[in-house]
Symmetry: C2
């Protein structure tokens, strides 16, 4: 932005540009938009963000975002507590719940192990997961993303849990439903072949 652009406008654009997926061009457009909003609307927007950050905490059981001490899913009597599905982020919980078909409980790590970025077991909610494993947990499903970090985190946690006599499973790799063989990448295709099922 040029030298005649008011500084507060530039600062607002810089703040928007720090959000994920928002480039400088979009950030400037949003900053200009804020100046055209009613003052009351800008304040309401700002306060909503502050209040979201202040009032939402992590569930003391599964670490998913919630307003209460313990989240709705963890207090739901119908959910099986013996099965824990471990995910990277709260958005993964939303994805699995949207898909349906899972009635166990969750554990949100809020990150993945990534030595390159300095993320070790202490930076993610590992300790909280381990304290849940005493008692009647029968299976831990590792539902981290099929990426290098997701794989590494799944196998690290699996190595810790297996000695405790708890079953550890991993989401299946294979062809996405509706996809075409022609466009599947080689790794996926090899996995789909290895994990073939009798019909």
């Amino acid at each position: 932005m040029a030298e005649y652009t008011p500084l507060p406008l530039i600062l607002a654009a810089e703040q928007f540009a720090r959000l994920p997926g928002i480039g400088m061009k979009t950030a400037q457009r949003l900053a200009y938009h804020v100046l055209n909003m009613q003052s009351a609307d800008v304040e309401h927007f700002a306060n909503t963000l502050i209040s979201a950050r202040e009032s939402v905490r992590c569930c003391n059981v599964c670490q998913n975002f919630t307003e209460k001490e313990t989240c709705v899913l963890c207090t739901d009597e119908r959910r099986a507590r013996a099965v824990i599905c471990v995910v990277e982020s709260p958005r993964d919980v939303t994805a699995i719940e949207r898909a349906g078909g899972f009635d166990g409980s969750y554990h949100v790590l809020h990150g993945l192990l990534s030595p390159m970025d300095g993320t070790g077991p202490e930076q993610i909610r590992m300790k909280e997961l381990m304290t849940r494993l005493s008692g009647d947990v029968s299976e831990v499903i590792m539902a981290t993303n099929p990426t290098v970090e997701g794989e590494a985190t799944a196998s690290y946690i699996s190595r810790l849990i297996k000695p405790m006599g708890i079953k550890v499973s991993r989401l299946a790799y294979g062809l996405p439903v509706g996809a075409s063989l022609e466009f599947a990448d080689d790794v996926t295709l090899v996995r789909a072949m290895e994990n073939r099922n009798l019909i």
Copy 2:
């Protein structure tokens, strides 16, 4: 978002979704991001927006955004005040300044006439433009967008100003530099032909 999603998170996403060009999916991603930010950073972000909205006003001459009574461009002695370039928004000023080659002054309408949306001459900065025309203004350049509303606004203002003996001009239509004839739309091509220049 599902029923187990904390309400403040939903409200934050709804606020983001009201920004231009931000869909519900992106808004949710941004809302989740806010929860992962440091509290202090969220407050800083929120306060930057409020302060931008509060401290930036419209220049009392050209109506462009500024922190002062009169903006930098309007107080610059080197800018010709006899030529006024009329644009829709502050971002258009930035575009023309970036391109260079114009050393007159600006007038920002903050909108275009659009009877369908209920935007009449009172809703845009028409009155402020007319008060500037007394005295030594020699030319008004209508640099509104080449759209239906931009055209309508340009011709409306032109009809008001011409009787005052002031020259009114319009940005040239033609082929964008570097474009290919093959992909030019018909209207642009007809205009480029009509406005051809001797070489």
